[in-house]
Amino acid sequence: MLVWREDLDATNPGTLNTLPLFELHQAAKARFGGFAGWNMPLTYPLGVMKEHLHTREKAGLFDISHMKLILVTGPQAAAALARACPLAPEAIAIRASKYTFLLNENAGIDDDLIVTRLGETRYMVVANAGNAEQDAEKLAAVAADFDAKVEPLDRVLIALQGPKAEAALTAAGLDLSSLTFMHGVEPRENWFASRSGYTGEDGFEVAMPVDEAKDFVEKLLAHEDVEWIGLAARDSLRLEAGLCLHGNDITPSTNPVEANLMWAIPKSLRETGTFIGADALRAAITAGPKRLRVGLKPEGRQPVRNGTVLTDADSKIVGEVTSGGFGPSVNHPIAMGYVEADLAQIGTTVYADVRGNKIPLAVHPLPFSQHRYRKG
């Protein structure tokens, strides 16, 4: 037993990007590891289990500065985004946020994004760390055909998640209590804040200029209900919440139909949209999915990890686990993966071979742990 065999990238730390607030994490005695090209805090001394539960009970503070903000502005900003994403940007109310994708020509998911409309011709895109550069390049390439400007921003991005998040943010001088879930604003010059997150809890994501970040984060940490939470608990929280990790659960070779994410694509666009990948998506809708993303609950206590092959009772291969671990709040192993479409009904049993143990897994509704968003 030697090293912690990371599920995360085993990249050489010397080549990884450093978070602007690295020293704060170091002072908080974080354990670091590579993820998507960044040296990230994985856990703090509290430990993944307590960090996870603390977020559900109080307020968890996450440094997610590995993710990227991209500002899209200009008279044709909406038209550019409508070409880049299966999205109706002109129909988004000002301050509202939408979950969407960058699709490739095969309708595979190159990335998943949150787009917030901040003004008539002003949109903020939040992209995943590993894909941020390609996303910015792709948006810029699309925008070149329009009167629109694409501007990646250097910001510290934090998430404050949990039932005490609103109070803690207010105590730190940022009152966002008027926002409801999936809405965002620019509360200060060069700041961006939205009521959103990736834990299933009520919460906020706040971006700020690097030179203002340390003071603000220290104010948050001074609140008795706020603790730093690492990437390990971020992963168990999002998996309990049934949310996809790009690169695992959705990839450039999975489309939104089989990923069961068609709710994110407006109905009218499915027929008439001219976004990149629209034709392939229409073909995928017509053909129907061969496989579907589902929640999976392993029987017993043994976790079933990412990459494990799934079979039916006759040992025929019927799918694969794409995320798997343990859910501290639900107190049992949890997983997500793809199974053949006719096995996707809730309650169907599939099997995994884990080191010689045949473990039954039940197709389970997502999320495992109920969302507690503030819908207003």
Binding site: M1, E6, R301, Q302, P303
Partner: protein, 122 residues
């Protein structure tokens, strides 16, 4: 009188009367994080030094615990089936993993003592 040995793989062995109790060190449990599952071997299995004998699973990942010496498993810590977190809370005590009958006590000479292990982990 029991003697405690350590390995470079962060295991401890407490040896008394030809039987070694084996567990992982406090340093190791801290590196692994909160354990949620421990896969125990069968009693009676013969193991050789370096064999993957126990799998400990944290929230995020699974790791192997290797046999530190040759021998036969005579007992496993059944309490870990319902309470794997004992390895975190009492790694050198109630969180032991298995007991083995040593096949060759001379193998113990190659292991570390407490001072040697502490020097290793710094």
């Amino acid at each position: 009188m029991a003697t405690t040995y350590y390995t470079e793989d962060h295991e401890w062995l407490r040896v008394e009367g030809g039987i070694a109790t084996v567990g992982i060190t406090d340093y190791a449990q801290e590196q692994l994080g909160d354990l949620v599952f421990v896969e125990l071997p069968e009693v009676g299995r013969t193991i050789s030094k370096g064999d993957a004998t126990v799998v400990v699973e944290s929230v995020k990942a699974a790791s192997d615990v290797y046999a530190p010496v040759d021998g036969e498993i005579v007992e496993v810590n059944q309490a870990l089936s319902s309470e794997p977190a004992l390895v975190n809370s009492a790694p050198a005590g109630d969180g032991w993993l298995w007991k083995m009958k040593l096949a060759d006590e001379s193998q113990l000479e190659g292991l570390l003592d407490e001072a040697g292990y502490n020097a290793l982990i710094g």
